[in-house]
Amino acid sequence: MEPRPAAQDSDRELAEAVVASGDEAAFRQLYGRHTPRLLGFVHRLLGWDDVEAEDAVQETWVRVCQSLDRFRWDSLFSTWLMGIGLNVVRDRIRRASRSQVVEFGPAHEEVVPPPSTEDRIDIERAIALLPDGYRIILVLHDVEGMKHAEIADRLGISDGTSKSQLSHARKTLRKLLSPQKGA
């Protein structure tokens, strides 16, 4: 068994203090250590929506603290945290009716290219314009560096669906980034 890094031990100590006595100071340390990464992650998944992203982070921490006593520490705290963040994002997308269900099958939404066809649009904006299902898989794979098996496991889909969705997402992204002049 590999020795855990010191930071992991420290995360555990802080988490145990939160669980044992609701220690606010311990929570603030945990929050300060992991929130910048969590916020960046959900910010990308939510298409760079600042307000939605901050709401998602708050909801993630509430869920984390609610289930902290059940965390078994057989994975990194940060991995577990990002997993909960991902679930919160999917729930928020559903609730906001951006799509009734976050579809990971063929996208039926029409992707509308941006009005300006003269210039390449910003890559962030292009990703934000992707259908939610496409965007989530593209961000997880191409930005976060996750493998298809891990994505499939986290989203409850097959590897094949993940690969297929990524392929569609990339094609759509290219279309958004290189619109034909005069279109």
Binding site: A17, V18, S21, G22, D23, E24, A25, A26, F27, R28, Q29, Y31, G32, T35, P36, R37, L39, G40, H43, R44, A53, E54, V57, Q58, W61, V62, C65, Q66, I123, E124, I127, L138, D142, V143, E144, G145, L166, S167, R170, K171
Partner: protein
Amino acid sequence: MTNDELTPEEREALEALRQDKEPSDVLETRTVAALHREGLLRPARRSHLELTPTRLSALVAACIALVAIGFGFGRWSAAPTLEPQVTVSGRVDATDAGRITTEMLGNDNAAATKSTSGRDTATNEVPTALDIQEKGSDYLLVLERYAALPPSERQDEAGREVALSSLYAAAGETVRLFPDNGVADRLLAVLEPEVEQGDRTKDETAKQVPQKNVIWF
């Protein structure tokens, strides 16, 4: 490379998006508030405050300031009440001073407890802080007047001994009253060799020098 695969430029552009985002202070505040509402957190405890160098410096500075303020306040609170007593005592003429000196050096213990204010603070009265102050003023006054006497009229050896013994005894009583007071403790340590030296001299000349009584205040 299939059409689905990313070009190096595309891969680089996408990976460059993987950045942390600094949260606002408001987000932390509202998250903590939400956790309090859920009953998942309790207020922060001091024991988890990190003792950073900045906090440590501030703590040391605060302690020094506190001691300095306490010392200054102590001096300020003592000075205005002591000064009038000394001034009043200063009106006593040289004859009275001589009488008190004689009483100090003589055998009349009862007379030695009579203060310049006329108040008798012998054992049947409960001593007060004012009594301590008055006796202290008397002691200072006697020393002052005694020092003003012509050298031919002074008994320097006896005067030095009784003055130091009184001071030593006073420091001893102060230490007994306020064991944590470092100043009196140090004064006691400084005076001890002097008084012991005086005692040895006294033993050697016991037959020549009359027994002395000391004003204890």
